[in-house]
């Protein structure tokens, strides 16, 4: 179709009224009227801004109602969720949680009404054992491609060959340092704990979370992050109790203290490091040379999800590479999907906080289910906090 020369020219008010009269009298067609006045273009432009007016995609057929997404704070692009609602007619109802333990408690209590939720790697086997999640029907996730994922990530969501959860994004647990105050250039967990008891006394924070605090204390001795050995845990406890009087705080909400200069070094997750570094370039992220934790969050569908079809549609939508790339821009954690990574800007991919050097990653361990639920670890953490 060739464009008429007047299609791009604004119409004067007088001409507009003349055309309207002609339309009313029936001397021109409606199509002519819309074209000549520019209303056709305007409508098309407006419709572009209102995607729900567009024809729906095939997979959207038969979807309705709302889909309940249970996830973590600041973990999705609101634009993506709105677009999903526009495409499918299914409204996304999002609720956020503070810990995996709370999610588990809620699902165990039953009748959550959740359709999709975002568990972390070490909880998936527990959910599966308790019969709280269903095996995923991968046929309903055409945009998920296991081949584009690192086996390390997919393995944690797969139990005995059955896929229960598909990876969303991943991160590490290292520590953040304020390089204006910390000039010792620490590179290991040994450095971390030694500085905490020495020159940085009173300036260091650890998580209020046994998994990472005890796990990284174990790394000082070269033990596994997941050790459940009594003797090894005993060593970690001794170290923690010795460090305790030197700590500034035991708190998983360490950003305020790092930002206002009270704390100079803290155990830290990828996303917090990204945010701190973005605002304050002196904040640097260190992954301990001995290793530590690597983790992955997943999409999973609880058994008895009320809007199961919409749940699959939402997961599939969010895993579409271009949508997933927008998710990464919003939440600041690296995606597990190479196709999504390929769409990210160079500076994101070169950011060592998000994408650390391969040799640092190889020492990291995934937290294990037993590490999280071990009663001895809980007791050690309580003794450490009460000491």
């Amino acid at each position: 179709m060739t464009r008429k020369h007047w299609e791009n020219r604004p119409i004067s008010a007088k001409e507009f009224m003349r055309e309207l009269r002609r339309l009313e009298k029936g001397s021109v067609s409606r199509r002519h009227f819309l074209a000549v006045t520019g209303l056709a273009t305007a409508t098309a432009t407006l419709a572009g801004g209102m995607p729900w007016l567009k024809p729906r995609r095939a997979f959207a057929a038969g979807l309705s109602g709302t889909v309940n997404l249970t996830t973590w704070p600041n973990y999705h692009s609101q634009q993506n969720l709105d677009d999903f609602a526009a495409k499918t007619g299914v409204k996304v109802n999002m609720s956020v949680f503070g810990s995996n333990e709370e999610m588990l408690a809620k699902l165990q209590a039953g009748s959550t009404g959740w359709d999709v939720f975002v568990p972390t790697n070490y909880t998936i086997s527990t959910y599966q054992q308790l019969g709280l999640i269903e095996p995923l029907e991968l046929a309903k996730l055409p945009n998920y491609d296991a081949a584009a994922q690192d086996k390390r990530f997919t393995a944690e969501g797969t139990i005995n060959g059955t896929v229960y959860a598909v990876p969303k994004d991943w991160g590490t647990t290292g520590y953040v340092i304020n390089t204006k105050k910390v000039t010792q250039n620490p590179t290991s967990w040994k450095d971390f704990w030694e500085l905490a008891q020495g020159p940085l006394s009173g300036r260091v924070m650890v998580h209020d979370y046994q998994l990472t605090t005890i796990g990284n204390a174990l790394k000082q001795f070269g033990y596994s992050f997941n050790s459940n050995d009594e003797k090894e845990l005993g060593d970690a406890e001794k170290l923690l109790i010795a460090v305790k009087p030197h700590l500034f705080g035991i708190n998983s909400d360490y950003q305020p203290s790092m930002r206002n200069g009270d704390a100079w070094m803290s155990v830290c997750w990828t996303g917090d490091a990204t945010q701190l570094h973005r605002d304050l370039p002196e904040m640097q992220y260190v992954i301990g040379r001995e290793g530590g934790e690597i983790w992955t969050d997943y999409y999973a569908v609880p058994k008895g999800a009320p809007n199961r079809e919409a749940a699959y549609a939402l997961i599939d939508y969010l895993l579409t590479p271009d949508i997933n790339a927008k998710e990464v821009k919003a939440h600041g954690y690296p995606s597990t999907d190479q196709r999504a990574n390929a769409l990210l800007p160079k500076e994101t991919l070169e950011n060592p906080i998000l994408y650390p050097a391969k040799e640092l990653l190889s020492n990291l361990e995934f937290g294990a289910a037993q590490t999280l639920t071990n009663p001895l670890r809980a007791e050690i953490m309580a003794r450490f906090k009460a000491a």
Binding site: N251, S257, D262, T373, P375, A378
Partner: protein, 306 residues
């Protein structure tokens, strides 16, 4: 006129059948109806949940956390594992209550006896103004005030260097006094305001110094108010976990924090339930002993809370 009369007639008609019962009080049915909201409230929201807590405290932790039915005393025998938390709470909560009372008493005294009568209500209302802002916001503000860029930096300017306040028991004490002062002032105010001033005048006429008349009349007669305020503050502090979490930075470990960890982190519900039962028992015992002591001092046996 006519409207009033018709109302009176209507009331008379309704009251009619119960006329006889009126002499000996209300009919049992009406009494039951009147107390039923409170009774249902206590049964469903206090007694039943407490029963659940007691039952859980004899159970076992399910392998993935939570509660598994059992009958064991293991949770109670394990209580010393949280001994430090009990000790911390039982040291800091009474100390904070005491400091709050010491700070609140002169305030209440001024309001009740010294402030001009027409300012009294306004000044009393101002004590409650902090409650208009969310508790969390106020504690976040205190984190900044007590942090190294707050009060310590001012003190550094006058030569007191390297003072650490935030994340210490002192910070928790400051937060407690700030947070609970508005609960302590009104009961003391009320008991001072009721004070019969002729007693003080009589004491002065009989040659008592202001100090001795305060020690022998004003203070003993206002002790019920101090007791009420202290109980309010003490009970809330014993169960608090936000204050030690925020201003203690996780380093000041209260029973409330131990409970949060037990229910939300290690998910050992039965042990958490046992700790809760122990906390309730300790609070109950403390309150009984304290009230007997204070009321014995004031020469009164009974006092209405608030």
């Amino acid at each position: 006129m006519s409207r009033q009369r018709s109302l009176a007639t209507a009331a008379g008609t309704v009251a009619g059948p119960h006329e006889g019962a009126r002499a000996g009080g209300r009919s049992p049915l009406i009494t039951a109806l009147l107390i039923s909201p409170a009774a249902l409230f206590f049964i469903f929201l206090l007694i039943l949940p407490l029963a659940v807590v007691v039952i859980y405290s004899f159970g076992e932790r399910a392998p993935a956390g939570g509660y598994a039915p059992a009958f064991t005393f293991a949770n109670y025998l394990n209580l010393p594992a949280r001994g430090k938390a009990f000790l911390n709470t039982l040291t800091l909560a009474p100390l904070a209550t005491l400091i709050t009372a010491i700070v609140a008493y002169p305030m209440a005294y001024f309001l009740a006896l010294k402030a001009p009568a027409r300012w009294r209500l306004l000044l009393l209302a101002l004590c409650i103004v902090p409650f208009w802002t969310s508790q969390l916001l106020r504690y976040y503000a205190w984190m900044m005030i007590l942090g190294s860029r707050g009060i310590p930096s001012w003190l550094a300017a006058i030569g007191i260097e390297d003072l650490r306040i935030i994340n210490t028991p002192s910070a928790v004490l400051i937060g407690a006094v700030y947070g609970f002062l508005p609960l302590m002032v009104p009961p003391i105010y009320v008991s001072l305001e009721k004070l019969d001033r002729r007693l003080i005048e009589a004491a002065a006429d009989l040659g008592a110094t202001p100090l001795s008349s305060f020690m022998q009349i004003t203070l003993p007669m206002s002790l019920p108010g101090v007791a009420t305020g202290s109980m309010l503050v003490f009970i809330l502090l014993m169960g608090d976990y936000i204050l030690p979490q925020f201003l203690g930075g996780g380093k000041v470990f209260f029973i409330g924090n131990a409970l949060v960890d037990l229910f939300l982190q290690s998910r050992n519900w039965p042990f958490g339930a046992a700790v809760s039962v122990a906390l309730v028992a300790i609070m109950f015992a403390t309150i009984v002993v304290y009230m007997r002591f204070v009321l014995g001092l004031s020469g009164q046996r009974r006092v209405a809370l608030v």
